[in-house]
Symmetry: C4
Subunit: 256 residues, 4 copies
Amino acid sequence: MQQSTLVRLKNDLELKKPILVVGLPGVGLVGKLVAEHLVDELEAEKVMEVYSPHFPPQVLVNKDCTVRPVSNIIYHGKANGKDILFLVGDHQSTTSQGHYELCSLYLDIAEEFEVPIIYTLGGYPTGKLTYEETVLGVANDIKLIEEIKKYGVEFRESEPSGGIVGASGLLVAFSRMRGIDAVCLMGMTPGYLMDPKSAQSLLKLLCKIFEIEVNTDSLQKKAEEMESILEKLKEKEEPQGFPVVKPTDEDLRYIG
Amino acid sequence: MQQSTLVRLKNDLELKKPILVVGLPGVGLVGKLVAEHLVDELEAEKVMEVYSPHFPPQVLVNKDCTVRPVSNIIYHGKANGKDILFLVGDHQSTTSQGHYELCSLYLDIAEEFEVPIIYTLGGYPTGKLTYEETVLGVANDIKLIEEIKKYGVEFRESEPSGGIVGASGLLVAFSRMRGIDAVCLMGMTPGYLMDPKSAQSLLKLLCKIFEIEVNTDSLQKKAEEMESILEKLKEKEEPQGFPVVKPTDEDLRYIG
Amino acid sequence: MQQSTLVRLKNDLELKKPILVVGLPGVGLVGKLVAEHLVDELEAEKVMEVYSPHFPPQVLVNKDCTVRPVSNIIYHGKANGKDILFLVGDHQSTTSQGHYELCSLYLDIAEEFEVPIIYTLGGYPTGKLTYEETVLGVANDIKLIEEIKKYGVEFRESEPSGGIVGASGLLVAFSRMRGIDAVCLMGMTPGYLMDPKSAQSLLKLLCKIFEIEVNTDSLQKKAEEMESILEKLKEKEEPQGFPVVKPTDEDLRYIG
Amino acid sequence: MQQSTLVRLKNDLELKKPILVVGLPGVGLVGKLVAEHLVDELEAEKVMEVYSPHFPPQVLVNKDCTVRPVSNIIYHGKANGKDILFLVGDHQSTTSQGHYELCSLYLDIAEEFEVPIIYTLGGYPTGKLTYEETVLGVANDIKLIEEIKKYGVEFRESEPSGGIVGASGLLVAFSRMRGIDAVCLMGMTPGYLMDPKSAQSLLKLLCKIFEIEVNTDSLQKKAEEMESILEKLKEKEEPQGFPVVKPTDEDLRYIG
């Protein structure tokens, strides 16, 4: 069985205890939107690529008709003079075993660079259509929870009650055994569609924690596009009832 | 492929040929309820943790919003001066291969500590709603069957006719090749829902075998709660017929 | 990943270029019925057991309430002074990969004992309810086909057109690369139910090839029981039409 | 876990930087039809066989009732004095992991023989019944795209938008990391049935690139047979509507 492959694009990568921010695809694509926005705004540089037989056996086509394999990518950026690594990607693992294998690989990298804290970003599906600005959290340490609370993150007893499926959860839980602090921040989202509005709330909060300011125009634009799409859907379908397909319980359990 | 991981929490664990009691999730959660009840009542101490890529790629959220990976746990307790190891957990393997791999790991531990006998606990789905106090057994040795019969366990020719799926069965069958006695005790249960009442019957019998007495208040309370839930469901739905969804054949084959 | 395990029950097994007869579960259980009948009639002795994580994670319960893991078993018998190995079992692999792995293991054993020829036994699903005595064949060598034809085995151009799925097919194809002759003999069967009648036809032909005679009373009894069951089903259901569930195309492709 | 196996049929294979042409089964069987046609017309010689536990656990029956395992085959032919390797086969991998493993194996072979360029052939499902002669392309290098455009291959921005699933895509993307040029050529096809007409368009274009001429009678004949089958289907079913089952989105995403 072939294993996942890490390709290092820079051999002389010198980082000072970088923070790791993880935004892989999940509910509402909230985490992916936030992390990729920061990669763009902070002009972060691609430093590692991860390929895996646990990704779909598929290639993606670029605008210029060249192709690239499905991958997860690590970028290096700086904010407030601090190093930040961003883990983003096209897909999460398609198998249970792959989730565990990739999580283990990412924590090896975190250990290698002496990452002191990991922020995994995701969406929390409410199943309701109304917008909420709340950002929900879980963490791998009780003291850390107290600190993060100060920034306005909500911690609700035993929530999410169905647990957290995928990289966002596994990285937080298993980083404890490596002595790394970790928190999962989840933007509340209906969970039906890509949610740039929820991403804005989550981004705002993350900027507060990092003590940085970033331009949010592109996210704002995406949010407006999304709203106009929803508006059109509502106009069209309102007579027959609810415009969007309800996610199954299975979908709602996924937080990513 | 990453394999299952055993984390030893105590390096100086000295046990005198401990009994191994296995109560993993299965039909009616009967085995899990009994084993976890004994862990609580005997104030057993956590001594090992098992993580596996064959568990769901998911983390569970504690009351205080910290998270923990899905795991199986081994506790060490004492009853009547005898050492007992309890194997309990959040999930069984989600893959066939994982069942075999984890079973092999657990039997390695049993051999290491010179376990003389294994009791796996489970539920036997009757498909009927009426309660039965019977505890059914299978074992890996004909002499052992004769001994266990004395405590009131019923052994019915070729039953369960569909075999036993999961850890409860595999551990009993494969322990024979390691020279370890093993018996699987199954509380009769409708099989539709968590069944603390069936767990009480099974617990009673196990206490008789171990010559111990334990407080059963918490199980009794759970049983009463469950009955009141069922009562309410019946009141609501009786006019339209049977209140609970019937398990599929697939469900009924699972004994756990 | 745990691999399949071979347990040798006899260390001093001395065989003179034994024939290998394979009768694993498949369509109509034809191959299994024939091979197990010969094991009984020739009083063959159990010499090897095979366990595999590719079998269902399940144990089977014996009449006396002891349990045994799902396994494939190799027996050693003698017919006409010649050594014969019989490969029978509870299940075939549940995964594609397992089929290839187990097939490779069985051919290792065949090579070790210098097996000159392998007969795999199976059923050929006709999808019709009428009985046919025909036995169909495929082989891994054109000369071998000519020889086997003499015994009355039919070879039909490109048949079975859907190929042969499972051990019966893989063993015949891959044995060629090991220099071992192999033929797959398939009793024609409706394919809906266990078919002891088709097994009788196949057994008769195999006895002709081996130049032996065996008592077929028990198979005859099974065939009569089966017919009386079918008779009852027909009586009951004829008014509403066809008594038995039609297999799907998927089922019919399986030859075993 | 057993891995894929490469069998070399010739030990002294001396090739001068051969081109690799890949035509494995996919949408409309377009790629397979073209590659197998060239193998026949150029009288290419079988030089390697690949077996894999990721192929279906099945054997295929030849006309003469001998059997052969599912395999991928590499042939060696010559066109215009240049060496060409053809990779064709019965099946692609049935698992994601197998796709990655086999792709890696094929690129090892390409590296070993210093292949300068790979052409993977496939079909592009239009979902429409009308015929189009267009051949669509993607490649792993922007300069290569400019070169290939000259032959009349169309490159459409970000198309196929759903990516390319299977060997045709993976080989093009991953060959970049080995320093090998690669292009995927896709014949437009309704995507519902085997499409020898689309194969003819693709073949014509490939011959232009290779500066060769080949007899296309057999493809032409297949195309006529197919059309007469479609004609009959239309006559029969037109009153009840559209004659052919529409592929699902899942089917249409597959390009092969």
